[in-house]
Subunit: 197 residues, 2 copies
């Protein structure tokens, strides 16, 4: 899997993606708060190499998790209460690309802007729009934050599958954890009351 | 350090703590989402034993971290821009108790209610009130979420200090991580726009 613009709805770096309301300075302060360092950038690169050919397996695991919990699958169902297969498929392709972007992209203005686009697509501002579906109008903030756990905990065995030392696996995992918390933090912006973010 | 009601502003289980707007059913769904299990309860109990006599050292580390970052220390400063020593001290005593409560308390209605009280005390609804100070009116949502990293990452060496096996340390750390994400999720409630939590 490589960086691609042929994924439906994937608009990273495109002119239609608006500027994030969060400044690069605010991002830098968040990075200080999560103990972010150049080492994390290097280990995420390594994680990108490790995970690249495992993306489908990872998504199978995550989709299995969501699919087996009605309170989570709910956000992918239509007015008839049934899961919308085409929606799940389109999200899946972007989700796979997101794994790679998390590891490979520089965390710069373009990245920050796309984080905000992802935020809006989880929030009622833009959910369902890019995929033209009538699923529930929002992924609630509580699940956005809670998902830090499964997305962080379940990645570790995949990081360990390519023969890296336990120390390298731990550092890749740590960098991944920091990035997930950082991204969820950025995604919370549209959910917050005026002035509370 | 033991459970105590003599800590200024610590009102766990007191009648003045209002009922959480989050139901026990919603809590149970969040616990499913973070892969919570009885094993986590047991390992948090173990963590409570391990951490009990290290609470002051942990707080020294966390306070050193906040104190060395002006963008964080800011939330403990007065109108003159100087840190408010009495505020920092009062928060510290409750913070220490919170470490023990995280490990020892059953996650029941009383716990849920006090989580909401903690949420309100970070949010503009109630920040500063119980301590009678004029610090900034809110801990922004972005730092509430970002703090999942330092509070999770820095606890691991303390969990490893009492001679437990690497596997036990990892399981205590995992349970701690889940609990921190769960609590931050609950604390985000007052920050969310109507219907977005």
């Amino acid at each position: 899997m490589t960086v691609s613009t042929s994924i439906p709805g994937y608009t990273y770096g495109q002119p239609e993606v608006a500027q994030s309301p969060i400044s690069l300075e605010a991002l830098a302060q968040l990075q200080e708060t999560i103990l972010w360092s150049e080492e994390d950038v290097r280990y995420l690169q390594m994680a990108g190499e490790v995970l690249a050919d495992q993306v489908d397996e990872i998504l199978d695991l995550w989709y299995g998790f969501v699919g087996s919990h009605p309170h989570l699958l709910h956000y992918f169902t239509g007015p008839d209460g049934q899961p919308i297969a085409s929606y799940l498929e389109r999200v899946r392709a972007r989700f796979g690309q997101w794994i790679l972007d998390t590891c490979r992209r520089p965390y710069d203005q373009a990245w920050l802007n796309y984080q905000h686009e992802i935020a809006l697509r989880h929030h009622r501002t833009k959910k369902n729009q890019v995929d033209g579906v009538e699923a529930p109008p929002i992924i609630p903030l509580r699940y956005l934050i809670a998902f830090i756990v499964p997305i962080t905990a379940t990645i570790e065995p995949f990081l360990a599958k390519k023969g890296h030392s336990p120390e390298e696996v731990a550092k890749m995992h740590q960098a991944w954890f920091k990035s997930i918390v950082l991204q969820v933090t950025l995604w919370s912006y549209p959910y917050a009351r005026e002035g509370d973010f």
